[in-house]
């Protein structure tokens, strides 16, 4: 038999839409795509990841508008520029990145990372902690481990005034800006809403 010609060599597509629900053999979209909002499937992979509190992810209301997202990050830049003492909650990859970036660019600002666990970037090998600590020391980033921040009702002020950040061990840090870099939550709404039988067809890379 002659070789079969592939009619469309690149049939795969990126669909810009939000999936509202995953059903037994189709997903429902929040908008039309090629004349339908229902896409049938033989197999589905749910890879919706996690949601981080702002600024890790943009606030949900701004999430899908690029211009609003840029404006949000610019406001954050202005807050960082105006601040003298910044507390970063969370010593994971994002908190560490944020702290070193700020201290690298603005050596005169006081930057403190508060980490709830014994090590920084605890999802990696402890040698990673050592590397981060040595870089923190070079730059002058302060860090506190094994301690959590007590978040006041209504959150921290964002007006630029100076206030005390209270830690669970009773210590206080004077700050005028707090950036949250902890508290990611899995986006598992699709799975929790899906009917049980869907699970036979679903592959969850990070369940």
């Amino acid at each position: 038999m002659p070789p079969v010609t592939i009619a469309n060599p690149d049939p795969h597509k990126v669909v810009q839409a939000r999936v509202l629900s995953v059903n037994k053999d189709h997903v429902v979209l929040d908008r039309q795509w090629q004349g339908t909002d229902r896409l049938p499937f033989d197999f589905v992979t749910i890879a919706t990841g996690a949601r981080h509190p702002a600024p890790g992810n943009l606030p949900e209301a701004l999430d899908e508008s690029k211009a609003a997202g840029v404006a949000y990050l610019q406001r954050l830049q202005n807050k960082v520029m105006g601040a003298k003492s910044i507390v970063i909650i969370g010593g994971g990859a994002f908190g560490v990145q944020m702290a070193t970036d700020i201290k690298d660019l603005f050596p005169s600002k006081k930057v403190t990372v508060v980490q709830s666990r014994p090590h920084l970037m605890p999802q990696f090998d402890t040698r990673c902690h050592d590397i981060v600590v040595s870089r923190f020391n070079e730059l002058g980033v302060e860090f506190i481990t094994n301690t959590r921040v007590t978040i006041p009702e209504g959150g921290f002020p964002e007006t630029g005034e100076t206030f005390d950040v209270t830690l669970t061990d009773g210590r206080k840090i004077e700050a005028d800006l707090v950036i949250q870099a902890a508290g990611a939550k899995p986006n598992n709404e699709l799975v929790s809403r899906a009917k049980r039988r869907v699970c036979h067809h679903a592959l969850l890379p990070f369940s």
């Binding site: 038999m1 592939i6 009619a7 597509k13 669909v15 589905v44 990841g49 994002f94 660019l105």
Partner: protein, 151 residues
């Protein structure tokens, strides 16, 4: 400080025009060693022969069906079969076009038979690279005020 991300290390066949994809020297051959066509053919032939067996054996006791109509049926079903393959692709859907979704979509696409396609569903027009977004926003003010280019 950026974690090496497998999703970006593969050849990107997706159109995320806003993303500055890092240039990484990777083997750009499909993961099955470049014999994508071979895989497709194999699947096709198997499917075709299965189909013929099904068609001829589903009517052997039907006395009203003469030889011509059987062969016509087989021919038409063959045409339909080819049309099915070229037009009605079955979907393998990946929900979420971030690190894991992109990587999954590319790896699945590399091994799918021609009967299937990958649909990667992602609400954003752009790739939200968690670290770069905030990082570059810090860098941009830093560059502006310090004129430092030591990235």
């Amino acid at each position: 400080m950026l974690p090496i991300n497998c999703g970006l290390a593969y050849r990107s066949t997706w159109s995320f025009p806003e993303v500055a994809q890092p240039e990484v020297n990777v083997d750009t051959k499909p993961r099955n060693g470049g014999h994508l066509l071979g895989v497709h053919q194999e699947v096709n032939y198997k499917y075709e022969s299965d189909r013929k067996v099904t068609v001829s054996s589903s009517h052997p006791t039907d006395d009203t069906l003469d030889l011509i109509s059987v062969s016509t049926f087989v021919a038409i079903s063959g045409i339909l079969h080819i049309m099915t393959i070229s037009t009605a692709l079955k979907n393998v859907i990946v929900v979420g076009g971030s690190y894991v979704g992109q990587s999954a979509a590319q790896q699945i696409a590399a091994i799918l038979p021609v009967t299937h396609r990958v649909l990667l569903i992602e609400p954003h027009s752009h790739f939200h690279f968690l670290f770069v977004f905030v990082s570059t926003s810090q860098w941009s003010i830093g560059l502006h005020f310090h004129s430092r280019v030591d990235l």
